[in-house]
Symmetry: C2
Subunit: 341 residues, 2 copies
């Protein structure tokens, strides 16, 4: 039974999920992922995962082969879907029950197809699956945020090699998102302009941190990149919400992602990476909530962050939240622009 | 020439230090540290480091053997000591020159002596060295913060196996520290009590997250621990400043650290770890600064954080600032209390 606990000093929520726990000496440094003897995500093995929540499939039965994207609950969830939040104070501290959703998006039946090798239409299906799950979970009044992310490679936290993303719906807004909401609102209130729109305008003018500039999306290495080859992808036209990204715009996003991952692979020899969507909190989908119009984060500009896990210098950052990046974003952008894909 | 750049979305400063840079394909996952053929930190090799800044030594010459603790500039510093801050706006962004100090504290002449194997008196000398360096650097008006930390083991970011800590003086307050300053001040203004004093009182009453409780210091696993076996060490008596920790109190701190590291080693088979001091910003040492009395962080309670680097689940956290901890702090405290040291 997991618990959400609030750290009053660092003002952040942490999931304490001991059912996932290992005995102390079972913690090991990540080893490269080997091809597993048995892959639970491959077709014909559908019965070895919990029953599917969602799938893109033809006229075939649930939990049978025939799907092209499949969503199942995480077998070892950090949060569980049933129950009340049970918000309580414990002395000086605050906690709530570890309620939420923890799902796995199996991106393709093919065990060995990397993200940039999918056809654009298939990446679109993966993105539509993300959207369908965000839409569904955002209707749940208990949840404040749906976090969509992907860990690729053991060093990035992946424990299975079959291509998959994950989703965690939480009853709190992660601190990183809360800070972004605040900085975007502050900028808007002061200037009546969107912070990310301002950044995109400036970057497109300068050009030296632009990796790819399509009609709809821009791929950048951020001015204050924390990590070598960190990427930031945002829509050119202001939008707080991934769900409005449909039709030709969604196809454009699929093309942008295919391009970005192909460049990372070509330039950096298939690095491990984390891929995180920064979308507005799900309260935006709940107009029946009190204060809906006031809290609607119309000034938030959604974006995607890709962090290759290359650097050895990680020690310092964990304890301090302070980063040293040995590769300038201008050099990283140049390497990625010139990558042969 | 490094640069400090501000991320306007995440409101955090990043050091872009390309002179430390590697070519893209030179980034490697950490390998276990081997005994180097040549150790620049061992006695008789003093000439291979930059000239020493400080040393605890008998009547011997600088940069010669005879020292017991020795401080040298980092050979590949992330920040450089000379120059003006040169704060400038660059379009939407803010930057300043990468000015600061980056020093290495060589903890002992002995290449193979681990922290818990030092006599208490020697740990005291290391702590006094930290204090001397913090005192010296805090007098520099350009700096806002002195960050003291230690990376032990390759997985924690160490690149040399000879025991050493590091220090970085920065012209900004790291975001983590800024958040702590804010939460402690808010708590104090609301309740006229210190947040950490409140936490210590409660933890000592409950007892199940207490690893060791001495007369002067308490070692805890925090209520909302982000990582398995994370430790929090704080003085029982309120103090914002490490520099006031002298005499019997400093000896007590040395004993507390020896005990904590011995427990981690015994329970977890010498894990890699990061060890970070959370002290008040150095402005506290500069009474000539305008606004000194207003900004003096008397409500800050200094403490130490130790983070063993055990978990494989690191991917998720980097992108989101949201943590999942598979080991409850109560279980971790029990394991560490019962460790045979």
């Amino acid at each position: 039974m997991s618990d959400l606990r609030h750290d009053p000093i660092q003002k952040r929520w942490v999931i304490i999920a001991p059912e996932r726990g290992q005995r102390p000496l079972e913690f090991l440094p990540p080893a490269p992922l080997e091809r597993e003897a048995f892959c639970p995500f491959c077709p014909l093995h559908e019965a070895t995962t919990p029953p599917e929540i969602y799938a893109v499939r033809g006229e075939t039965f649930p939990n049978q082969p025939g799907w092209s994207v499949r969503v199942v609950p995480n077998k070892f969830p950090a949060l569980r879907i049933e129950g009340d939040l049970d918000r309580t104070g414990v002395g000086t501290y605050d906690r709530m029950a570890g309620i939420g959703a923890h799902e796995v998006i199996i991106e393709s039946p093919a065990h060995d197809t990397a993200f940039p090798d999918h056809p654009v239409e298939h990446i679109e299906r993966i993105l539509q699956t993300y959207q369908a799950r965000v839409r569904d979970l955002s209707g749940d009044q208990r949840f404040r945020y749906v976090l969509l992310f992907k860990n690729h490679g053991a060093a990035a936290g992946a424990s299975l090699s079959h291509p998959h993303s994950q989703l965690i719906a939480t009853p709190i807004t992660p601190r990183t998102v809360a800070i972004e909401l605040d900085s975007m609102r502050t900028h808007y209130l002061a200037k009546e302009r969107c912070l990310v729109c301002d950044i995109l305008r400036e970057e497109l003018e300068r050009g030296d941190r632009v990796v790819a500039a399509g009609d709809d999306f821009v791929t950048l290495t951020p001015y204050a990149s924390r990590f070598p080859f960190e990427l930031f992808i945002a829509p050119r036209r202001h939008a707080h919400d991934l769900l409005g990204c449909e039709g030709p715009l969604l196809r454009s996003l699929a093309r942008t992602l295919k391009d970005a991952f192909a460049r990372l692979r070509a330039a950096l020899n298939d690095p491990p990476y984390n891929f995180v969507f920064h979308i507005a909190p799900s309260i935006a989908l709940q107009p029946h909530r009190p204060g809906y119009w006031q809290t609607l984060p119309w000034d938030f500009h959604w974006h995607i962050e890709i962090i290759p896990r290359l650097t050895r210098m990680a020690g310092f950052e964990w304890g301090t939240g302070f980063y040293i990046n040995p590769t300038s974003p201008e050099e990283a952008a140049k390497v990625l622009r010139e990558a042969e894909i």
